[in-house]
């Protein structure tokens, strides 16, 4: 009993310590960000391209199918009340406010996030980060900050692409398959979805972009520098990002209602 309590206490202390270090790490990244954005923009652009290009195809494919399935569900329910015209609206709300940002963040974690973690982890395991330190180059500034910023910048665009492709998927099912009138399909969306709904999606994707990129570079930087350690770190990136994104999603939604 006493042992359990002690274990619990130690775990809590360990957690708080890690969390504190994590916050300091975040501040360090932020401190170098303006400088890197102004003087080393090329490094950031390269990372936006990396993160974006890696995730683009899966995000488009998944967006298409998520939009399509939303339209299927919406149509089969709405048609019971003769409200087929609202198929597009239901899909649009779900995509823009929830599934666009959330699914994009999860897919990003699985594709670009794991790539970031393993890349940085391997750089650490093969002494590349130490070598930079020895060349008087700060690896946080030179390696981590551009990768972090690349992810932060790519995420909102990826989420927007996800939603846009998703709407097209909904259109295919609603209009092409179930013959909902194309005019009312799009007009209902235009009339009902407010700019504030779009903003909610944008805010979410920015927050998720920061969270997913931060977790990916943190896990890479703190990898136990062995092959096994890199494997563990990439797994943790996916799991921790997924949990964080879903928790934040709930909190942001609750705050904006």
């Amino acid at each position: 009993m006493k042992q359990t309590f002690l274990d619990l206490r130690n775990n809590l202390i360990e957690f708080l310590r890690t969390f504190g270090a994590f916050q300091l790490f975040f501040l360090r990244l932020l401190r170098y960000s303006p400088e890197i954005l102004t003087t080393r923009l090329g490094l950031v652009v390269k990372q936006v391209h990396n993160a974006g290009a890696q995730s683009l195809v899966i995000i488009m494919v998944c967006g298409l199918f998520v939009g399509a399935v939303l339209a299927l569900q919406a149509y089969s329910n709405m048609s019971k009340f003769n409200a087929e015209d609202w198929t597009g609206v239901a899909a649009a709300f779900a995509l823009v406010k929830e599934l666009g940002p959330v699914m994009t963040a999860l897919l990003f974690a699985g594709r670009a996030g794991t790539a970031l973690t393993s890349e940085i982890g391997l750089m650490k395991a093969t002494d590349q980060l130490s070598a930079m330190e020895m060349m008087a180059v700060n690896p946080v500034r030179r390696v981590l900050v551009p990768r972090f910023l690349g992810g932060v910048i790519a995420m909102p665009f990826l989420a927007a692409i996800f939603s846009a492709v998703g709407l097209y998927g909904a259109h295919l099912i609603g209009v092409e398959v179930f013959q909902v009138d194309v005019g009312s399909f799009w007009q209902q969306i235009q009339l009902t979805v407010e700019i504030s709904d779009v903003n909610e999606g944008i805010i979410k994707s920015i927050v998720f972009g920061v969270a997913a990129s931060l977790i990916a570079v943190w896990e890479g930087y703190n990898t136990v520098p062995t092959a096994e350690g890199v494997g563990h770190a990439t797994t943790r990136t996916v799991v921790i990002t997924a949990i964080t994104v879903l928790v934040f999603d709930f909190m942001i939604t609750a705050a904006m209602i």
């Binding site: 391997l122 750089m123 093969t126 002494d127 590349q128 130490s130 070598a131 930079m132 330190e133 020895m134 060349m135 008087a136 180059v137 700060n138 030179r142």
Partner: protein
């Protein structure tokens, strides 16, 4: 301070004021460092003279790489002081530390080339980060350094396409590119064929003599290192077990030194890591 071995270093003058003798570039006193519960260094004293080639030798796992990381403050000792050119490095802040490191060039044990850059860009990396030289000039400098290690033809390759020995030679070119005052080599001779080995040994010697660089070379290769070093330190059990010129070491009458210099399996350093009896274990008796 008592040394278990008869051949104890006498060059380390305990009362001399640290950092004041300008002949000494690096001075280490009473250094203590542990990994987990294992003390890697416990009371290490060591002095590296300006302009010399100093060899660090010792059985695998004695902490030679660790010592290099302590000297360059990639690791922080638990106790003891390290002076580099008269400055106690524990007093340096981040920018002071980086300024100090710009005077070092370090060849890592496994090369540590940046995997996402070509060979050329790897060697150019410190120049691009720290100078505003024109592309033309950078190209000139990088090609000269690549030529010195015999790999000018590999400029466009990626690190993944290099063999281990080639990678280490590129890393050497990168370590020299900023014309450092102090060059640290962690096992530079491993994995080189006899021809490149000869070239690299002579290169180490020449850099030292012509450019007046101070060199620290970690090596197991008693023959090669004896040929080039001015002074050698043999590390064992967290201390300097012996020091002196290669000839002094070769003729030393300490058992440990003899064992190491002549590569004998039996002696004070056990070849085998601590283990249960061989026969017992093979017959499975230790399990019962």
């Amino acid at each position: 301070m008592s040394f278990r071995l008869s051949f104890a270093p006498s060059t380390d003058l305990a009362d001399e004021k640290l950092g004041e003798n300008s002949e000494n570039l690096i001075e280490i006193r009473a250094l203590k460092y542990s990994r987990g519960h294992r003390a890697i260094f416990d009371g290490l004293n060591l002095t590296i003279r300006r302009g010399e080639i100093t060899a660090l030798m010792g059985p695998s796992g004695t902490g030679k790489t660790t010592l290099l990381r302590l000297i360059t403050r990639q690791l922080i000792p638990e106790e003891g002081v390290i002076y580099v050119d008269g400055v106690d490095i524990s007093t340096l802040n981040q920018s002071g530390l980086y300024e100090m490191r710009k005077r070092f060039g370090m060849l890592f044990q496994n090369g540590a080339l940046l995997t996402d850059l070509s060979v050329f860009e790897n060697v150019a990396f410190p120049l691009r980060e720290h100078t505003k030289l024109s592309n033309r000039l950078i190209r000139h400098i990088v090609l000269t350094k690549l030529h010195a290690v015999g790999l000018r033809g590999a400029a466009d390759m990626l690190p993944a396409q290099l063999s281990g020995g080639m990678a280490r030679r590129i890393a050497l070119a990168r370590a020299m590119v900023m014309d450092p005052e102090i060059l640290i080599y962690d096992e530079p001779f491993v994995g080189l064929d006899p021809i490149s080995l000869g070239v690299i040994v002579r290169l180490v010697r020449r850099l030292n003599d012509v450019l007046g660089i101070t060199s620290i070379v970690v090596s197991h290769d008693v023959e090669e290192i004896s040929a080039v070093a001015d002074r050698s330190f043999l590390l064992s059990d967290g201390k300097v077990a012996a020091s002196g010129s290669p000839d002094e070491l070769r003729t030393a009458n300490s058992e440990l030194v003899r064992q190491f210099m002549h590569g004998m399996a039996d002696g004070p350093v056990a070849f085998h890591y601590q283990a249960p009896g061989y026969e017992e274990q093979l017959l499975g008796r230790d399990i019962e």
